[in-house]
């Protein structure tokens, strides 16, 4: 069990929700990820919602999803003996990932200088909200605050209403995944040269990297993009991205162009014509050059056509369900997608055919839960969540006993003084 891809490498994970996805990617790839939790448990155990709405450190859905495949030990970093144990772990590890406030590790005497003294091979990756040198290096960031600072929030929402974030916070996930990439870059270098390094992740910058390069608009086009709800407006024309249907919404971009765009438009118009929804001009149109408001500015005639087309498509989609529209679009190669809910995704034929979701036994909860599976299919070293997220301190005995070879008497003492 467990992937061979990174087997034999160990990561100490002291991160909260700003890093959890990063160490999860490592666990999926077969690294031995040890979550080093404070005695009261990692803060991600308290993120709602909870399984069956029962608040409990083992029932946070966030924890179940993003801490799967990791081991858990408890350690009190406030105690000198606890810190000494972390030092022992560092000697036997390849990576240390953390998201403490900037300077906290140094204040414990566990800054990178110390870590590299203990183990020159160690890669120490810190996720920071705003970097480690600027005026905001000690700023706090909740997920929504990073979403705002990096730019995507300003672009999301209706004109005249507040900027929005998604209902599932995303900033920490981007930062965590970036931490995994950068740690592996350092890893490749280390495996050749033998020397680890310090890696700092800037969460604000990670979020900024979702901006579709709109950062360059003010410089190249002279103005910045405003949020426009369900419309795309980068070229000065409002193009609708969302249409209502019988039981929800459909997303599409009505544009032709060479290649798939024209095939898509032609397919849609033929389908609409067969059902009496297409105008004559639509049937006669050469769609291969028609991309107004997407890749080019729209002329007066384009604008009239856009308005007529979007209205007719809306009327057409109103007659069907998401599933009916998507099924026919797949056949006719019309570029659209249902605005899918978790229920739609769970029922999706494509994901089923690829056996995407995996069932993971959660003996501690008396349940088998279904988790997203491999993030990619590897021909030689399949990856994916191997086992459920750990209970708090579940692997104390095996890590302290087997890995660090601490005998029972010393373990007892460490427990008694609150180090573990």
């Amino acid at each position: 069990m467990g992937s061979e891809l990174l087997s034999g490498f160990r990561m100490l994970d002291l991160a909260d929700e700003k890093g959890a996805l990063g160490s999860k990617i490592f666990a999926d790839m077969g690294a031995d990820v040890i979550k080093v939790e404070p005695p009261q448990g990692c803060s991600t155990r308290r993120i709602p919602p909870f399984l069956d709405d029962l608040p409990d450190p083992d029932r946070s859905l966030y924890f179940i999803a993003y801490q799967a495949g990791k081991r858990s030990v408890t350690l009190n970093l406030g105690s000198p003996d606890g810190r000494a144990l972390l030092e022992d772990l560092v000697r036997k590890s390849d990576f240390l990932l953390e998201s403490f406030p900037v300077g906290y590790m140094e204040s414990l005497g566990l800054g990178y200088d110390r870590l590299t003294e203990l183990n020159p091979r160690i890669i120490h990756t810190s996720v920071t909200p705003f970097g480690d040198t600027g005026p905001g290096r000690n700023y706090k960031a909740a997920d929504i605050v990073s979403w705002a600072a990096g730019g995507p929030m300003f672009l999301m929402g209706d004109e005249g209403r507040p900027p929005l974030e998604m209902a599932l916070p995303q900033a920490g996930l981007h930062a965590g995944a970036e931490a995994a990439v950068a740690s592996l870059l350092a890893h490749y270098s280390r495996e050749i040269e033998g020397q680890g390094q310090r890696v700092v992740i800037d969460m604000q910058a990670c979020v900024l990297w979702t901006l579709m390069n709109e950062q360059a608009m003010p410089i190249l086009h002279g103005d910045y993009i405003r949020r426009t709800g369900m419309y795309y407006t980068a070229t000065g024309t409002r193009r609708r991205l969302v249409y209502a249907c019988k039981d929800g919404y459909i997303s599409t971009v009505l544009a032709g162009g060479s290649g798939v765009g024209a095939i898509s438009m032609k397919g849609l118009v033929e389908w609409m014509a067969a059902r009496g929804f297409a105008a004559d001009w639509m049937v006669a149109k050469d769609w291969t050059t028609w991309v107004p408001g997407i890749l080019m500015k729209a002329t007066e005639q384009d604008r009239d056509e856009i308005a007529d087309l979007e209205e007719r498509v809306q009327r057409f989609f109103n007659t069907m369900t998401k599933r009916e529209i998507y099924a026919e679009a797949l056949k006719r190669r019309i570029l659209l997608a249902p605005v899918a809910t978790a229920a739609d995704i769970a029922d999706d034929e494509q994901l089923k055919a690829r056996n995407y979701f995996v069932r993971v036994e959660h003996d501690t909860l008396g349940r088998t839960l279904t988790l997203p599976g491999a993030f990619a299919k590897f021909s030689a070293t399949p990856v994916g969540p191997g086992r459920r997220a750990p209970r708090l301190g579940e692997h104390n005995a095996e890590v302290w006993g087997e890995l660090l070879r601490i005998d029972g008497a010393r373990l007892g003492r460490l427990r008694a003084i609150g180090a573990i």
Partner: protein, 406 residues
């Protein structure tokens, strides 16, 4: 000592648009030699997409393309032509990694798929990234990130209230999730090959990668049937939590994002906002959660005439997470991004100097960097076909004339 983490790694990159190029950019900015194989016969649509220099479309004027393809070289080959295939195969021994993002049957048609390439280079690492993966009933269905964001659930959890139409995340959101997974895949596969001598094939469905950023909601649905929906800016844990309008700045709207996660932070927030009279509706976190609509109005009124930057400093000093909701001008004047050295000014051959998104990570020993802006189409034809493959100038000219190099 090595200057870059991936010095000596070679990548033949047939991918295009977002996910593939952003993935190989991680490698290129860290010293790997990445050659983009493009063609005027089917130009990367990013080359045709805004923003363009002076807002003028052109094959080499898009910064969208230039930004996602820093530190790479570009050659052009019309892969539909047999001679082009021969040239690809001449480059193959050089490559450690082949990356591509066609729909699944294109490379099979040209006999450049993994089975064919592996026969010639057994330890090849190959990444195929497409919308829905190489197999399954929808493998051949084309698409792009904007639609993928709807298909993989992000549109549905975006909006002010259940029942209102979705207010989607900006642009091709999932194009910015999948590359981090794909880069991890390639880096780990490189290390696995170093240890074992074995290459492999990586089939990445952008859909499947993207769903990882929605994992708790999916686990929840399978376990309980609950369907996550839009929630405005409300948190399930904390209030206040949202974006609040501040005083305009030079006629531009300014908002402040704010999250108050404890009683201490609540007191800190009130102090930073001038200690307004106590209101029993907001006395505890439970009360604030209960009276969220009134609370949002209360906070909104406190900040409406205030400067968002000054409030940020005051709130952060009081231990409260807060920051202005920044637009694309603000992020260029951001002191924290500046201190991190985020923006890189690069001088593009056609479009001239402009700021590029830099790296969101900093490595102490082998720092990555944007070594050059994205290449002009075919900028390195002579260098690659001439110097690397040893074709003479006459033959290169002939291949250009025959539109093989095209």
């Amino acid at each position: 000592m090595r200057r870059y983490a991936l010095e000596g790694i070679h990548v033949l990159d047939f991918s295009w648009v977002g996910v593939g190029p952003i993935t190989t950019k991680y490698l290129a900015d860290n010293g790997a030699e990445v050659i983009r194989v493009e063609s005027l016969a089917r130009p990367d649509i990013l080359r045709l997409a805004p923003p363009w220099k002076d807002a003028k479309p052109g094959i080499d004027t898009s910064q969208f393309f230039a930004s996602f393809n820093t530190s790479k070289r570009s050659i052009t080959l019309d892969l539909g032509k047999p001679r082009a295939r021969e040239l690809v195969l001449k480059l193959l021994p050089w490559a450690d990694i082949v990356a591509e993002s066609f729909t699944p049957k294109a490379l099979r048609k040209w006999e450049l798929d993994y089975e064919h390439l592996r026969a010639l280079k057994p330890d090849l690492i190959m990444l195929s990234t497409c919308m829905q993966g190489q197999t399954g009933p929808n493998a051949l269905y084309p698409g792009f990130g904007q639609l993928m964001a709807a298909l993989s659930g992000y549109y549905h959890i975006s909006g002010y209230n259940p029942g209102e139409p979705p207010c989607p995340p900006y642009g091709a959101y999932t194009d910015f999730i999948a590359p981090r997974f794909a880069a991890c895949a390639l880096l780990a596969a490189l290390d696995y090959r170093r240890r074992t001598g074995r290459g492999q094939y990586i089939d990445m469905s952008q859909y499947e990668a993207a769903l990882h950023n929605l994992a708790p909601a999916l686990v929840d649905y399978f376990a309980s049937g609950r369907v996550a929906g839009p929630a405005g800016n409300h948190s399930e844990r904390y209030a206040p939590h949202g974006a609040y309008r501040c005083a305009d700045l030079d006629g531009h709207e300014r908002w402040l994002a704010l999250a108050v996660e404890s009683e201490d932070e609540w007191r800190g927030m009130l102090a930073a906002m001038g200690n307004p009279p106590a209101d029993s509706r907001f006395a505890t976190m439970a009360a604030r959660m209960e009276n969220r609509a009134a609370l949002d109005q209360f906070v909104g009124a406190l900040v409406r005439e205030r400067d968002a930057d000054e409030l940020t400093v005051a709130l952060q000093a009081a231990g409260v997470a807060a920051y202005p909701v920044q637009n694309c001008v603000d992020i260029h004047r951001d002191d924290n991004l500046e201190a991190f050295g985020f923006w890189h000014w690069l001088d593009h051959k056609v479009t001239g100097p402009s700021p590029y998104e830099g790296l969101a990570y900093r490595m102490s020993r082998t720092p990555g960097e944007l070594r050059a802006p994205g290449p002009a189409l075919g900028q390195h034809n002579d260098e690659v076909f001439g110097e690397m493959l040893g074709l003479d100038a006459a033959e290169i000219a002939r291949l250009k004339e025959e539109r093989v190099i095209f």
